[in-house]
Symmetry: C2
Subunit: 246 residues, 2 copies
């Protein structure tokens, strides 16, 4: 049965998250339902990552096995037509080998977290960024971010619901870039714990506000205790931006 790899963009605002849920709409369900409408097959979609409610995707990678013979282009067009008006778009579709797995073959994941640092409420970007009213010192945030890069036990930055076997992860990139009142925090790793990016961003914001020093960030990491977490950033500003494969 041919395996189709998809690149998916989605606006997380109306969804309970990527993963299918009993109690509300999900991106997975939207795509699976669209696939069923096209093929009559109940294919399961597997994704590189599972995003939480309100988190966005710019290029999530996913796959499904489909019996009905279709060119990838026709499948993409049919999916985009069926998905309307849900804010989910298939940016790319390709046939891959049967041992390619969107989740298990993935060797790198990247997120960006967008902050708008101003007093005024958001208009176009409501739900698409985190508005932080207190002036943020991006240089201090960048310095504190350095303490998190590398291999660490990230228990402090891990949700109680995290299903990962180990809290030890290797963070390859955590970069803080300021442009006017916009701050973008880029994070990359082979994989992340549940809530890890939002938890790291929340603590970076505390550093930016001057409520934490970069040393406090190091102490929080070393505590290996969820109780040491200062702040969990809201989902609004988080975007899954890239999945890497060998």
């Amino acid at each position: 049965m041919p395996r189709y790899a998809l690149t998916v963009e989605f606006d997380g605002r109306p969804f309970m998250g990527w993963q299918r849920q009993a109690h509300g709409p999900s991106v997975q369900q939207a795509i699976e339902d669209a696939l069923f409408g096209i093929t009559g097959e109940r294919a399961v979609i597997h994704a590189a990552g599972r995003t939480d409610a309100g988190v966005h995707g710019l290029a999530m990678r996913a796959h499904a096995d489909i019996e009905k013979p279709m060119t990838p282009f026709r499948l993409m067009e049919a999916l985009n037509a069926r998905l309307r008006p849900d804010p989910v778009a298939i940016l790319d579709c390709a046939i891959v080998s049967e041992d390619w797995h969107a989740r298990f073959s993935c060797t790198g994941r990247a997120y960006v977290y967008r902050i708008v640092n101003r007093r005024a409420p958001l208009t176009h970007e409501a739900g698409l960024a985190w508005r932080v009213i207190q002036p943020l010192d991006a240089d201090a945030m960048a310095q504190a971010a350095g303490a998190l890069i590398g291999q660490h036990d990230f228990t402090t930055f891990r949700s109680a619901h995290c299903q990962a076997q180990s809290p030890v992860k290797t963070l390859d990139r955590l970069e803080v870039l300021r442009n006017g009142d916009r701050i973008a925090i880029h994070a990359a790793a082979r994989s992340f714990l549940h809530h890890q990016v939002r938890s790291m961003v929340g603590c970076l914001a505390l550093v930016g506000m001057g409520r934490w020093s970069p040393d406090d960030m190091r102490a929080a990491l070393n505590a290996r205790d969820r109780a040491a977490l200062g702040l969990n950033a809201p989902p609004d500003g988080l975007y899954f931006v890239r999945a890497e494969y060998p």
Copy 2:
């Protein structure tokens, strides 16, 4: 009576345009109603430009005369609180002299028009950019844009409803910048005719699609005839970005 100058960001999607309308919500009405709720005064808001339904503002300038004594900061905070949940935000507020007029003192206006050049539907940006499916040649568009810069009779690019006395305007900037599948068209002039930016962008898109040559653009301009217009771009991608004052 003190005059307050406002800098306003707004999402044009839910509005019939900037200007107060009998038949639907407008940005002007939203701000005037918020002002009335704060001051009890029926102040009129004057703006640097009047945007159409669905057109956005990143930094529209406006003013109102208000009797009730308030610091600009308090007025801004009160307006932002009252404007919720409308997607209108006051980014700045200052007291200006009584001869400062948001519209008549304005010596320069700038817009940006955002195109997303791809097949897939828009998700986060639905209503916030123009999706163009046909591949666009941004270099050809930039070349054609050059023909419009300077002082011309822009009758071809003017709405039938335009109230300007003369169709002659001086276009200071019309720049086409591509970044991946994003194309931004920057336009600046002392003032614009009604629909001028959208009409220029629509014709630039025809050039980008290869349906018009840069010479066709020149011919359309020289025709000085609305019938020579090739295409009027939708409001979705248009943002008022800057008003200049001496």
